[in-house]
């Protein structure tokens, strides 16, 4: 599904990604963890070309993506959920969800709204369809944002710390939505600090630090017997 070969990314002199090699198979849930500034977001953003790699290769469903790729085509296949939701403030929930399907895919309003209602029902937001983002709680906003990404019917979903900006009591509703999605077989790459989610829902853990993947294993192994010293240190800090 996703195949990354020797990915490097520089921001000017700053070398943020230093040779990432990774593969994500269809239906797999890969959880990326690591300290702040280690390049997790940058890695995710390279996958849907919000950032262009400095060097290296990224294949999406076998297709090499680079500056010559139609970025809008690739992004239709890859949904992204942001830490700060980024719902369109000028549109209500239903219009947030239907905008891209209508304008990008050319779906009719009726069909787009059917898809949106279905998704909203699934995440328990059907009564908020006509609410504006400002009227929603953080957890509701994030669930709406997940619906917005899903409405494009992507093959892959990227999550960049989807619960980091939420009040504690709202974290669970968002994680459960994500878990439901994983159970339906969605291919997911999730950057998170929620170790419980990583352990329960993740198929594989990738530990990143300073722009490199230092350890990669199953959740069971990673949490019980981390091998890398920095992974051990990181876990000792985040696990209570």
């Amino acid at each position: 599904m996703i195949h990354v070969k020797d990915l490097h990314k520089n921001f000017g002199k700053l070398h943020v990604l230093k040779g990432i090699n990774a593969e994500v198979k269809k239906g797999e849930v890969v959880v990326i963890i690591g300290p702040s500034g280690s390049g997790k977001s940058t890695f995710l953003r390279c996958i849907n070309l919000l950032e262009y790699p400095t060097s290296g290769e990224i294949y999406i469903e076998g297709e090499l993506i680079n500056r010559k790729t139609d970025e809008n085509k690739i992004r239709q296949k890859i949904g992204m959920v942001f830490q700060h939701f980024n719902l369109f403030n000028n549109l209500n929930v239903i219009n947030n969800i239907t905008l891209a399907p209508m304008k990008v895919k050319g779906l009719s309003k009726d069909i787009a709204e059917d898809i949106a209602s279905e998704l909203l029902k699934k995440v328990g937001l059907e009564d908020k369809a006509y609410a504006y983002p400002a009227q929603l709680s953080g957890g509701q906003r994030q669930r709406a944002a997940i619906c917005r990404a899903l409405a494009m019917q992507p093959d892959i979903m990227l999550f960049d710390e989807p619960t980091s900006a939420l009040d504690p009591e709202m974290v669970k509703e968002v994680l459960m939505t994500m878990e439901g999605l994983a159970e339906e077989g969605m291919t997911m790459v999730v950057v998170t600090h929620e170790m419980g989610f990583a352990r329960e829902v993740g198929d594989r853990i990738i530990f990143m630090d300073e722009g490199q993947i230092l350890e990669e294993s199953t959740p069971d192994l990673f949490f019980s017997h981390p091998e890398n010293n920095r992974a051990k240190e990181f876990l000792s800090k985040v696990l209570y």
Partner: protein, 221 residues
């Protein structure tokens, strides 16, 4: 102190005429200024450096020189270049709109850049092009920042336009000069003119405050 407004009362049609001219002038200049401002803002925000530099230079040059000098350049300077006189009304509109365009450009640019960058990223991540994202997500939000500031610009231009009296435009300010010369009274006509300017700006400002409140209200729907 001998104030006597009856001495100028027979000149009231001149005040009316001047007021109309000033309003016409401001309206034309603001509309043209917005068009210029829009273009200059787009130039300035271009990712192509040479183009953005043109926009940048325009804004800096215009904002860094007095309106009076700009008026003189258009009215006295340009005719020398093109070998033909420019009537005062078009000259005044040209100078005022070129001047206003620089300020409007900054208003538009600031209004667009005040929209959280995450909105653009989210739109792009869904496969929307830059144009689609601008049209359906960014501009509608930027307008809420831009409209109130454009109202301020209109009020500012209404006042600034008094400068055109020096190129023999018969605007409101110029009428005060004419009446002063005809009646040998200075204070009364100037006070009347000041009051008229104030009334106009006060009305527009109040109108604008209402509009602003409406926009705010629609934000927290």
């Amino acid at each position: 102190m001998n104030l006597d407004f009856s001495r100028i009362s027979s000149y009231s049609p001149l005040f009316v005429k001047g007021t109309v001219t000033t309003l016409e002038l401001t309206l034309f200049s603001v509309v043209l200024g917005i068009m210029i401002g829009l273009i200059v803002a787009l130039l300035k925000m271009s990712s192509f450096k040479p183009v953005s530099i043109i926009g940048h230079v325009y804004v800096e040059l215009i904002r860094g020189t007095p309106l009076l000098v700009q008026l003189y350049i258009v009215y006295y300077g340009l005719p020398q270049l093109i070998g033909q006189d420019i009537p005062s009304f078009p000259a005044a509109v040209a100078a005022l709109s070129v001047n206003s365009g620089a300020y409007v450009a900054e208003i538009i640019r600031a209004g667009i850049q005040a929209v959280d960058y995450g909105q653009m990223e989210a739109a792009r991540s869904l496969g929307m092009s830059y144009g689609l994202a601008m049209r359906f997500v960014i501009i509608p939000q930027a307008i809420k920042n831009i409209l109130p500031a454009l109202g301020n610009e209109f009020v500012a231009l209404l006042k600034e336009s008094a400068a055109v009296s020096v190129i023999s435009m018969s605007d409101l300010m110029r009428q005060a000069d004419i009446i002063r010369a005809a009646t040998y009274t200075a204070f009364e006509p100037l006070i009347v003119v000041a009051l008229i300017y104030f009334t106009m700006t006060y009305i527009f400002s109040s109108f604008q405050r209402v509009l602003e409140r409406r926009l705010k209200a629609s934000d927290s729907r």
